[in-house]
């Protein structure tokens, strides 16, 4: 485990964090803007806050939101900058170059790179330092949709191939759902949730994970295709999702937003909804006057449904009740 213990006061804002995160995998730091995500990251790096060793003695890799390179050095020398100043050399340069597709960029100058390319080089340079921990501050936020989509597969590879723990700051729940294993939620400088991604997303009591952000992620393996759809097995049932994904034994992530899940008492006989799963109501949590979040158990998996309090009252839904969950839409995150 990595212990995060930071207190910083800036004007009326106070960051007060004392928590532990896993020393493997990707930890998503999620929260609205102004919740202290970047400040926390800068504290870990030593760029802010007091005490602790100077920045250059902390063995971290830092990736800034704006792609930041040294404009007077070409790509190769940008990559070497940190490597030359690191003692361990645990990370293999050729592996980093290959993983991030940097081979063709090595002789280029930073001002000739696109934003996405520059960010890949910046990530590569941070990794070449062989850090004990990589800190990423919304590395996709400054890029447009197309660049983002270009870059995401590289993050998937990092996630799968890198053994260095990563702290990934984001305000985009889709990014977090796709890339992270662990979720750390900040609000006004305080930790409001800290746990396994899948379990934390299934909680109904965290306002920051409500509304548009409410929804779960399921691990599922693609088993067959039909009509341009792929059937996924999530262990406790099947889910159909649009798109043809290669049949493999590797589990993929399915994101199911709470607003796309509705509840019916009887199994519908004639419906256009493809995915109808038998479920048990585990928890009904009223969010505001109009809406509520319901946590549903489907075998060992969890779903969230966003419904109106009016519907709950009308149907008389209660904890422990057996119902059917209708999934209007499912997105395959990767």
């Amino acid at each position: 485990m990595i212990r995060l213990q930071h207190t910083v006061r800036r004007g009326s804002f106070v960051l007060d964090v004392d928590a532990e995160i896993p020393d493997a995998g990707v930890t998503g730091v999620f929260g609205a803007s102004g919740s202290g995500k970047t400040t926390l990251l800068r504290c870990i790096a030593g760029l802010e806050g007091e005490g602790g060793p100077p920045v250059h003695q902390r063995n971290i890799g830092y990736v800034f939101q704006q792609p930041t390179l040294f404009p007077h050095l070409d790509v190769r020398r940008n990559l070497d900058y940190g490597a030359r100043r690191s003692g361990s050399g645990r990370v293999d340069a050729s592996q980093v170059i290959d993983m991030l597709g940097l081979g063709d960029l090595l002789t280029r100058r930073p001002d000739t790179l696109s934003g996405g390319e520059a960010q890949r080089v910046a990530i590569g340079a941070a990794l070449m330092r062989s850090p004990d921990l990589v800190l990423m501050d919304e590395p996709l936020a400054s890029l447009d949709r197309r660049r983002k989509d270009e870059l995401l597969p590289y993050f998937d590879r990092l996630h799968d191939e890198l053994s260095i723990p990563v702290v990934y700051v984001s305000h985009d729940i889709d990014e977090v759902s796709r890339l992270c294993d662990h979720l750390f939620v900040l609000e006004d400088g305080r930790v409001v949730a800290n746990g396994d991604l899948f379990e934390t997303l299934a909680r109904v009591d965290i306002p920051q994970l409500g509304g548009r952000n409410a929804g779960v992620v399921l691990w599922a393996t693609p088993v067959d295709h039909a009509h341009g759809l792929t059937r996924f097995d999530f262990g406790d049932g099947d889910i159909w999702a649009p798109g043809k994904f290669a049949i493999s034994r590797n589990a993929m992530r399915l994101r199911i937003a709470a607003s796309d899940v509705s509840i019916v008492r009887e199994r519908p006989v004639q419906t256009t909804i493809l995915n109808v799963l038998p479920a048990t109501i585990e928890n009904v949590h009223s969010v505001d006057e109009a809406t509520a979040l319901i946590r549903l158990g489907v075998g060992n998996q969890r779903l969230l449904a966003q419904v109106t309090n009016r519907s709950i009252e009308r149907l008389g839904l209660q904890d422990g009740e057996r119902v059917f969950a209708q999934l209007k839409s499912v997105t395959v995150r990767r």
Partner: protein, 221 residues
Amino acid sequence: MTLYGPFWLSAQLALVTTLILLVAGAPVAWWLSQTESRFKPLVQTVVAMPIVLPPTVLGFYLLILLGPQGAIGGWWVQLTGSALTFSFTGLVIASCIYSLPFAVQPMQTAFEALPRRTLERAWTLGASRLDAFFSVAVPLSLRGFVSGAVLAFAHTLGEFGVVLMVGGNIPGETRVVSIAIYDHVETLDYSAAHQLSLLLLAFAFVVLLATFAWNRARVAR
């Protein structure tokens, strides 16, 4: 003493002064660009004083300070046995103070233009403050160093009032080109004054042109 002797003496003085100012001025410029200290305006003012101060005023105080009776001059006499005033060394010290703002300010401006993030990135990649200064800040502020060097050199080359006060007019030691030109005009030797003045004029033009062209080429690249 040849006609062009004073010119070479001035060039020597300007070169030595410029080199000293680049080395000594860079840390001052760096400090000014990075600090949030409440003493910053004070230091800035002291550095900028030679721009607004009449050279004779600056020269007068330097004469007192560097003279055998002065704080620095007296100590120098004890150390070396010779006086600082009316010597080349004395002129170098005076020129360094006189041209200080012209070297410091362009460097400071260049350092201030450096994105904070770029420095922070160097630190997170394992560079100490000093390492980051030399490996990132200096190469990225080259333009400021060149501007500072050109301005300090040119300004020292044209120095008159301070030299007159501190250095006098000793051929081969303190008789710099501006003093020589003044002398030639005084003695109505216009031809000699013309030759030296034209040389300075051409020199100033070529140096500035080269600097601007270099800047343009750098921006285009």
